[in-house]
């Protein structure tokens, strides 16, 4: 049987406010447990929440960036359940009147098409603390540093039909919130966490199947794997004539396994009701306009500008513009490197590969856009060959030296581009290889000729001690050998 896959996402985005949503504690990540939790965060008796205006500003900016309606009068509610890392015994969140109403995001698919994913709503809420189950000898530790960190939870319509689309949407959203500067986007620290709702239905059917929710995926790769895993699991069950149980599942990315966390029957009755400690949040037009005016350039606009301003192709422009830090790095590189296409190639090639290999983010790159730009300049003006440039890149990355020209000098990577000198070398080498020259000139097949031309390059590079400009050698060779 053929199946349609239906995917909807819920994304928790930690807002990059300095302080918590309802208290003055710092939101900084990585402090000693419970050093960033004050009396309000600990839910000490009698303490009360005081809303952080910046959290509202960020939520409104997000709403405007995803073409959504902004709720002028949103309401906080209490979601009641007991858990040790939920100090008040309820989470302050929004249900009936979330701050961000329906909107949409357009995503680029690998096949070059564009798809619209609708956003159902996004609401403001507080994060919980963390329960730590290791190192406590069979007991559980509670760290409340994260408790009260502002979140927006973005809920999409079930508009995605495969893992590629879901990941494209996730990346797009990541690009939007980081471009807005409302989230640091660091998924390894939980700044963005994805819940994936998946169901299958017979191909072409109008009726949605029973869905499962896979929670707390904190990387694009895990998300892709988790979707593949869950689709396969559901397909196996359905094809064996079984039924999908509506449930929440946890995915273990290291083992590519998932297990049930709770079924619908075990779900809590959260007994939502409006929080009497907080007045409805009334946003006036001036506040919304101010947020609108403070919107920075967003990925879609940036992509268009990159195509226009730098002549990049659709694909490269989309990749570079999608991640705000990469985009900034790119523009820094171009400023110092002049050649935009070459800059883009290096960023999306060598640079990205190296970051991925070392699991670093752009922000942690050991080299700057200025340095990479300087290197691009030297490639463009033929000072170094691309092979030489890789050696320079390596030296920059490892911190051996931080100046491109100094590295070129020290390593003797400067190309000889003086055509007179190069012609002399070509003449000398060809004179020493008469058989090969004759063979070449007798060959009719252009493909084979091209390959044979490579046979002269080795001796040429050797003759030039690796410093001859390969491109020029190539041109001279072709001229001397007759096309």
């Amino acid at each position: 049987m053929q199946w349609d896959i239906v995917i909807g996402l819920e994304i928790h985005v930690q807002l990059a406010t300095r302080t918590k949503i309802f208290s003055g504690s710092s939101t900084a990540y990585g402090a000693e447990p419970n050093t960033q939790a004050n009396a309000v965060d600990l839910a000490m008796p009698g303490t009360l929440p005081v809303p952080n205006e910046n959290a509202f500003r960020y939520a409104v900016m997000f709403g405007l960036a995803v073409n959504a309606e902004i709720e002028r009068r949103s309401v906080f509610e209490r979601k009641n359940y007991f858990y040790p890392d939920l100090p008040k015994g309820y989470q302050t969140t929004q249900l009936e009147r979330p701050i961000v109403g329906p909107g949409f995001v357009d995503i680029d698919l690998p096949n070059g098409e564009t798809k619209r994913v609708r956003i159902h709503h996004a609401h403001l809420e507080e994060d919980a603390g963390k329960s730590l189950h290791e190192d406590f000898h069979g007991m559980t530790g509670v760290d409340l540093n994260r408790a009260g960190t502002p979140l927006i939870e973005v809920v999409t319509e079930p508009d995605m039909n495969n893992a590629d689309e879901a990941v494209a949407f996730a990346r797009k959203l990541h690009g939007i919130v980081t471009s807005l500067g409302i989230c640091d986007g660091d998924m390894s620290q939980g700044s963005m966490r994805f819940d994936v709702n998946i169901s299958l239905k017979p191909k072409g059917s109008d009726t949605l199947g029973t869905r499962t929710e896979t929670k707390n995926l904190n990387s694009f790769r895990f998300m892709e794997q988790a979707i593949a895993h869950e689709v396969e699991r559901q397909m196996d069950i359905l094809e064996d004539g079984g039924e999908i149980v509506q449930e929440t599942r946890l995915y273990n990315g290291d083992r590519d396994e998932s297990r049930s966390m709770r079924t619908k029957e075990e779900a809590n009755d959260y007994r939502y009701f409006p929080c009497p400690d907080l007045l409805p949040v009334v946003l006036d037009e001036a506040f919304i306009e101010e947020a609108r005016n403070s919107l920075p350039e967003l990925p879609d606009a940036r992509k268009a500008r990159f195509q226009e301003q730098y002549g990049l192709n659709d694909y490269d422009a989309g990749l570079l513009a999608g991640d705000s830090k990469l985009a900034t790095f790119f523009e820094e590189t171009v400023t110092h490197g002049k050649d935009a296409k070459l800059s883009a190639n290096w960023l999306l090639g060598e640079f990205s590969a190296r970051l991925n290999a070392e699991e670093r983010s752009v922000a942690d790159s050991p080299i700057s856009g200025e340095q990479l730009g300087a290197l691009v300049t030297r490639i463009a003006d033929n000072t170094v060959s691309s092979a030489g440039a890789k050696k320079v890149f390596e030296a920059l990355w490892t911190g051996e030296n931080d100046d491109v020209d100094a590295i070129i000098d020290a390593k003797g990577l400067k190309q000889v581009s003086d055509t007179g000198e190069l012609e002399k070398m070509v003449d000398e080498v060809l004179a020493g290889m008469p058989d090969q020259v004759a063979q070449y000139q007798n060959e009719e097949d252009p493909k084979k000729r091209k390959k044979m031309l490579g046979g002269f390059m080795g001796p040429l590079m050797k003759a030039s001690k690796g410093q001859g400009n390969p491109k020029l050698f190539n041109e001279i060779l072709q001229k001397k050998l007759g096309g």
Partner: protein, 481 residues
């Protein structure tokens, strides 16, 4: 000195006839000698009080005295006091020492007042007789085995027994006015939002309001001067100018229009009580006020609406008492669920558990619309009733309670009978308007209270009306024997 009002003591301290340390000693001695009979204090902070009194005397010597500098008083044990245990009348918080002050506590500290201790109360302010306290019932100084009312029973009894001249209190459904009435003292529940709730342990957040208990209206005004005002730590407190509440006490009440809600002079009220209340209103007529009957047509729905909304909010507010971070924790929990269930089963008393259950039920899926939403609609109708009434009259007057202080054990076996104690006071909380209880006579040797209800933020007018009454009556000066 123990019969003097706060205003008098303030003058005595200013004139130097007595020091704060001497005054504080006298009241501490009275508490030590007398409170065994009443049990009105949960905690007495003798050492701290004497140190504060000494500091107050030094403050005065330095020429920096406020009207409250060196005045002894007490806090209801619902207001968090930095470094002093705050129990809320519950086993759950028997050993809880807050590391912060409530805003009300901080305000009195700032004014130089000397806190002698924390007064007894119904557990988590849930009760009308002070019998639900984990620290034992409080006895009304006016009658052996009589309840002082609740939940601020300790504050009202302590003031009536002259153990302190004034005490803070809170009122969610009548918890200031009813005990003030039953103990023959004067109490004020301000407009919702007038006094910060920060550090005041929550029962029902949309109804809770901190207020005052003292013997005279003037002392209530002095207390409110310290307590009222916007607090950035409480987003439901209201940013509105605070007048000097003592400045308008002496205005004449001539021309005041008094409304008598007919629903509050019903057959729930005993004839003897009604007579006392009507006599009091006649005093106002003698002072030149006019009286007319008005209607609060939805008042009869107040108790039903209240007993959905208040428990609903309480059920969430009390979830934080889970044995994880502070407060009572059961012995040797075998797992998380055991920790929760036993901690809460052992830590909360019967009435608190009953209200948590009622509130949890009212908010549950399938019942929410029928109970919680319906009650909120009733609440808006009741607010509308008051708004309409205040278009016709300046204040409303009524009894505070249907009967005087009852005997301990008489009503606590049937919760509904107990809930009816608040039949005249609860609508005020649902509407959020201010109201006072003023001593207005006696029935069978037990005090009767007159309730004066005002429009939003009309505390100055209420205090003025009560003060003028107290210039021509002496009910508030009567001392229990």
């Amino acid at each position: 000195m123990h019969n003097k009002s706060v205003a008098d003591l303030s003058r005595e301290l200013a004139s130097g006839t007595i020091s704060s340390v001497e005054l504080t000693r006298q009241f501490l001695d009275r508490i030590r000698q007398e409170d065994e009979k009443y049990n009105s204090f949960i905690t007495v902070t003798e050492e701290q009080a004497l140190a504060d009194a000494k500091a107050a005397d030094e403050q005065r010597a330095a020429g920096n005295a406020t009207p409250w500098t060196g005045i002894p008083f007490a806090h209801k044990d619902i207001f968090c006091t930095n470094g002093v245990r705050t129990t809320c009348g519950s086993k759950m918080l028997e050993n809880f020492v807050p590391p912060y002050d409530a805003t009300v506590t901080a305000n009195f500290r700032q004014a130089g007042a000397v806190c002698l201790g924390k007064t007894n109360m119904d557990e988590f302010a849930m009760g009308s007789s002070n019998e639900s306290s984990h620290f034992g019932a409080v006895t009304n100084p006016w009658g052996e085995r009589r309840v002082p009312g609740g939940s601020s029973g300790g504050s009202a009894a302590a003031v009536a027994a002259r153990l302190v001249p004034a005490a803070t209190a809170t009122d969610t459904g009548g918890s200031i006015r009813q005990p003030a009435a039953l103990c023959g003292v004067t109490g004020l529940k301000p407009t919702y939002g007038r006094v910060s709730r920060y550090g005041m342990i929550a029962f029902a957040s949309s109804l809770d309001q901190g207020g005052t208990i003292a013997r005279t209206a003037e002392d209530n005004a002095m207390m409110l001067n310290v307590m009222a005002g916007f607090d950035p730590k409480d987003s439901t407190s209201i940013d509105r100018e605070v007048p000097d509440y003592t400045a308008t006490l002496n205005e004449p009440v001539k021309g005041l229009t008094i409304g008598l809600p007919k629903e509050y002079f019903s057959d729930q009220l005993s004839p003897a009580m009604e007579e006392q209340v009507r006599n009091a209103i006649r005093e106002y007529e003698k002072l030149g006020a006019t009286v007319k009957e008005v209607s609060l047509p939805n008042a009869k729905l107040a108790i039903a609406a209240y007993y959905v909304i208040a428990p609903a909010e309480a059920s969430a507010n009390l979830s934080r008492f889970d044995g994880v971070r502070y407060g009572y924790r059961c012995e040797d929990p075998k797992d998380l669920m055991d920790l929760y269930t036993r901690t809460r089963a052992e830590g909360f008393g019967e009435e608190v558990k009953r209200r948590i259950l009622v509130g949890t039920y009212a908010l549950s899926a399938g019942y929410f619309d029928a109970y919680y939403l319906k009650a909120q609609k009733v609440r808006r109708l009741i607010q509308q009733d008051f708004i309409s009434a205040f278009k016709e009259v300046d204040v409303l007057m009524s009894p505070v309670s249907p009967s005087p202080a009852f005997v301990q054990g008489e009503k606590n076996t049937d919760p509904v009978t107990m809930y009816l104690e608040d039949v005249f006071t609860i609508a005020v909380n649902l509407a959020g308007v201010p109201a006072m209880s003023v001593p207005a006579g006696f029935v069978d040797g037990l005090p009767v209270g007159l309730q004066i209800i005002g429009d939003y933020f009309s505390e100055a007018r209420l205090l003025n009306a009560a003060h003028q009454f107290q210039q021509v009556t002496d009910w508030h000066q009567r001392e229990p024997q």
